[in-house]
């Protein structure tokens, strides 16, 4: 039963989380990751930590005590039934006890049900016995509503998952039969202690040897266990007429008690221990790692807690941008220049090229930037039109280049080559250009053309 509580707690937390929402598990995950290796124990550890907040211990306690109480109540009932069955089997005082009838009265039902149970164990979907089901039904009456309901469902789920339900029910079934048979034995012992019984067997047409053999066969095990059972001669003489001799009476009483013990109680005890053994085995191993959606999600949360995320230091400062500086008008010459930054700009540059505007080679790497700077230095244009693609992200490199270029001109504007869809970064460009003091970018070619050709 080592892992019953671990598995139960996990299931309880699972029901909680899958029926409502995730519990606040940051601490639990961290603790589970620190204290256990990955796998089921880690899931259990997390559940254990989370169950504290759910008051799970109390609910589980309630389930266990209800299960125990209903088993005890049923046990008491079984004991009383056994007791009365024992007394009833002996019949009226004064009348001799028909040993075969008496034995049938007490052992027929338990033996048949035991045989049925054994047969049912060999079938698929074994149920574990009717009495066990009665117990489950009674417990369910008490537990299906209220605070412990979820804990109870979790308990049943785990039992089902571990294929333990059958053995739980079997253990209860056999325990109840043990209570019944103990009741019967007790009734026999009390009756034989306090009353005077004589014993016999009866027949109308069977031969006496049948009974001798039957009685001896039945008493073989009790005799081996030390019960003082009647000899063949005594058995033969007890037919149809009771012998009222102290020694014979004692021997028959021993025979009856021994038979109930050896053929009723003993097999039940063996079945009970076997069931208990199998039940324990159901909870004895950790079990396979669950692979359902819930388990994978929990695993992911644990992995996330386990994943060390570290940084190399505080984040770098946001870029500080200087204002664009321009050449003073005296230093400018009367030239107009256009340059494309990291973009192809062929078709539109044609009308500009034919006019009075000097178009530089597109700038898209170290060398071309260097060349453009040299040219701008010598041209010292009064107007500079910088063409950029609105698809590009305005990054430090581009802005630095723009700032380097404007330092060699009288005034400059940026023309944003239009872009559509998700990659349109016009707004970002507008913000950044505002920051460096270049004003609004030109957004359509006609106004850009007009600006570079005619602006004064």
């Amino acid at each position: 039963m080592q892992y019953l509580y671990d598995a139960w707690r996990y299931e309880l937390v699972r029901l909680n989380e899958s029926e409502s929402t995730w519990l606040n598990d940051t601490l639990a995950n961290r603790e589970a990751v620190q204290q256990t290796d990955s796998g089921l124990p880690r899931l259990w550890r997390r559940a254990q930590r989370l169950s504290l907040g759910l008051d799970a211990a109390a609910a589980m306690q309630r389930v266990m005590s209800t299960l125990r109480a209903s088993a005890m109540a049923l046990g008491l009932l079984a004991f009383v039934i056994g007791l009365s069955a024992g007394l009833a089997a002996l019949g009226d005082v004064g009348e001799p006890v028909n040993v075969i009838w008496a034995l049938l009265a007490v052992l027929l039902v338990p033996t048949l049900s035991l045989l049925l149970w054994i047969v049912s164990c060999l079938l698929p979907q074994a149920k574990g016995g009717w009495l066990g089901q009665a117990w489950e039904w009674v417990a369910n009456r008490w537990l299906s509503q209220g605070k412990a309901a979820r804990a109870w469902r979790a308990w049943s789920n785990v039992a089902e998952e571990r294929q333990a339900t059958q053995w739980w029910l079997a253990v209860v079934t056999h325990s109840l039969w043990v209570a019944t048979l103990v009741g019967t034995l007790l009734a026999l012992l009390v009756a034989f202690s306090l009353r005077h019984y004589t014993f016999m067997w009866q027949t109308t047409w069977l031969e006496a040897t049948v009974f001798v053999e039957l009685a001896q066969a039945i008493s073989a095990v009790p005799a081996w266990l030390g019960f003082n059972v009647p000899e063949a001669q005594t058995i033969l003489m007890s037919g149809n007429q009771a012998i009222d001799q102290s020694i014979v009476r004692t021997q028959w009483a021993h025979w009856l008690v021994g038979a109930v013990f050896a053929w009723g109680l003993l097999p039940r005890l063996i079945a009970l221990s076997a069931s208990a053994f199998f039940l324990r085995r159901c909870y004895a191993n950790v079990g396979p790692l669950p692979k359902d959606a819930y388990a994978l999600l929990v695993q992911e949360r644990l992995d996330k807690a386990a994943r060390a995320i570290s940084v190399d230091g505080p984040p770098g400062q946001l870029d500080q941008w200087p204002q664009a500086v321009f050449l003073s008008p005296q230093k400018c010459r009367d030239t107009r220049v256009a340059v494309a930054l990291e973009t192809v700009w062929l078709e539109e540059s044609q009308p500009v090229q034919s006019g009075a505007v000097h178009v530089l080679a597109p700038v898209d790497d170290r060398v071309s930037r260097q060349e453009a700077l040299v040219q701008l230095q010598s041209l010292a244009p009064s107007h500079l039109l910088i063409v950029v693609d609105a698809q590009h992200t305005p990054d430090r490199g581009l802005l630095n280049t723009i700032l380097a270029f404007t330092a060699h001109t009288g005034c400059a504007r940026v023309y944003l080559k239009p872009a559509d869809g998700v990659r349109n970064r016009t707004t970002q460009w507008q913000e950044k250009l505002q920051v460096i003091g270049l004003g609004k970018p030109l957004l359509d070619w006609p106004s850009a053309l007009q600006w570079i050709t005619t602006h004064d």
């Binding site: 029901l15 899958s18 029926e19 290796d37 990955s38 979907q125 469902r153 049943s156 789920n157 089902e160 998952e161 692979k291 359902d292 959606a293 819930y294 388990a295 994978l296 999600l297 992911e300 992995d303 996330k304 386990a306 994943r307 060390a308 995320i309 570290s310 940084v311 190399d312 230091g313 505080p314 984040p315 770098g316 400062q317 946001l318 870029d319 990291e342 973009t343 192809v344 898209d364 790497d365 170290r366 060398v367 071309s368 930037r369 260097q370 698809q391 590009h392 992200t393 305005p394 990054d395 430090r396 490199g397 630095n400 280049t401 869809g421 990659r423 970064r425 970002q428």
Partner: protein, 463 residues
């Protein structure tokens, strides 16, 4: 940040090429780092570990974007030391030692420091961008660090993607290996692909990378199995939903409404779980590609559109009626399936089934109506959840398109083996207890298992 035996891989690239997005996808952690469409969103190096059998096997380093690599390249290229010929690593070492440089190129300094401490570099490019000469400079700078460089082509699934110029560009720089990994809609075996390609660049780390690749493949399989299990659970629960109402039109309609609401709720829960399973959230920007909003399908389950959308052919008039109203009783289920199947189902599992049949007869005699969810609804339910799984496996890609359910000959394909599916559904219908979210009766588990097999073989999930 030092883990001696873990592989260290730096993820670098020009600004705004989706480095952090890539790492989010790789770690399946949507909260990792910061993602925005602007330059300089990531402003420090952030490490994320990948574990293998309880030990850290690999560390990804997300770095700030290289924004001004041209100026940096300029700076490093102009370096001279009297009497020495400087090679790449020398220049980088000089740069890293220079306090002025570390101030002016603060971000780049961090990136290069990280590269020097790493085993390899993933160079992320946005293939929607044009290849520019500056990228050559950037790559040259990386090559000066003398670490293996593996180009990662990001956004290859985009309509504006131009991967070929990039591949040619890399070839010109002597790099003939790359991996296409769209961080928004990666190939379903993307992680494996990445590890396998990395192993080619890092032969000494091949065993670790192979194990990581295997781990990623297993995780993928498990995720798919868990998703199918979740869908199977949903179908079984919905099929088991039973409402018995008095047989007058008004009460029946009210009962149907109530039942429909429960079905919608169960579906919503399933969709939420599936989204979570594939590390999606409703507010995820890639989620806009999915046919679900806030965990709800955009098309109502009980509409004809849902049927066509799920790639099912709209059935006969009676079936359409069942969709609209979600009324079905065990008798009509028996008729559509053939009594043999139903008897088999009843005999195969259940006393309760027969019992339930008895309850239905009793209800009929008492003038009551037993409402159950129709076959078509159940099929739509399964088909569209499978479709969602497929979409999620590719992180939204192609999810906005209708599923092509026709094979080459133009014949409509079934989204799954309908006969097998309906057989399990018929069994589930006989067990109202199974609609309980927590029932783990073995017979139910068997039904779920059978359904899992049926759904896992769905052509909707095929590559």
């Amino acid at each position: 940040m030092t883990k001696v035996d873990a592989l260290r891989i730096a993820i670098v690239g020009h600004t705004n090429t989706g480095k952090t997005s890539l790492l989010r996808t790789l770690t399946r952690d949507r909260t990792f780092g910061e993602v925005a469409d602007s330059a300089g969103t990531t402003r420090h190096v952030q490490a994320a570990t990948v574990t293998l059998e309880n030990r850290d096997a690999l560390i990804w380093f997300d770095t700030p974007g290289l924004e001004d690599s041209i100026a940096l390249f300029d700076w490093a290229a102009q370096l001279t030391v009297p009497g020495q010929r400087l090679d790449g690593p020398d220049r980088i070492a000089q740069f890293l030692q220079d306090p002025q440089a570390s101030q002016r190129f603060e971000q780049e300094h961090r990136v290069l420091t990280q590269i020097i401490q790493s085993d390899a570099v993933l160079y992320v490019v946005d293939v929607r961008d044009a290849v520019l000469a500056k990228h050559r400079d950037e790559l040259q700078l990386l090559q000066w660090c003398a670490k293996p460089v593996l180009p990662v082509l990001n956004f290859t699934a985009s309509e504006q993607a131009h991967a070929q110029p990039w591949i040619e560009g890399f070839a010109r720089q002597g790099i003939h290996i790359h991996v296409a990994f769209d961080s928004v809609s990666p190939p379903s075996d993307g992680e494996q692909l990445l590890f396998d390609t990395l192993a080619q660049v890092l032969p000494q780390a091949r065993p670790t990378l192979k194990a990581l690749s295997q781990q990623a493949a297993n995780a993928r399989r498990e995720r798919r199995a868990a998703a199918i299990d979740r869908i199977a659970q949903l179908c079984v629960r919905v099929a088991a939903l039973t409402v018995t109402v008095a047989n007058d039109p008004q009460t029946v309609t009210a009962g149907q409404r109530k039942q429909q609401a429960r079905v919608r709720d169960l579906e919503h829960r399933c969709v939420t779980d599936l989204l979570a399973l594939y590390a999606f959230a409703a507010d995820d920007y890639t989620a806009s590609e999915l046919p679900v909003t806030d965990g709800h399908w955009q098309t109502d389950l009980f509409s004809k559109e849902a049927i066509t959308e799920a790639g099912l052919s709209v059935g006969k008039g009676a079936a359409v009626g069942a969709v609209a109203g979600a009324v079905i009783d065990v008798f009509s289920a028996g008729l559509t399936l053939g009594t043999g199947t139903l008897l088999g189902a009843a005999a195969g599992s259940i006393w309760q089934g027969v019992d339930q049949w008895g309850s239905d007869v009793k209800a009929k005699l008492l003038g009551q109506e037993t409402l159950r969810v129709g076959d078509d609804v159940l099929q739509v339910l399964a088909a569209r959840q499978l479709r969602l799984v497929k979409a999620l496996e590719q992180r939204g890609h192609a999810a906005s398109h209708l599923v092509n359910t026709q094979d080459k000959s133009g014949e409509a394909r079934e989204p799954f083996d309908q006969k097998a599916f309906l057989k399990v559904m018929a069994v589930a219908r006989l067990h109202p207890g199974w609609s309980d979210t927590t029932s783990t009766v073995r017979a139910q588990q068997n039904a779920v298992l059978a359904l899992q097999q049926c759904l896992a073989a769905s052509p909707l999930l095929a590559a």
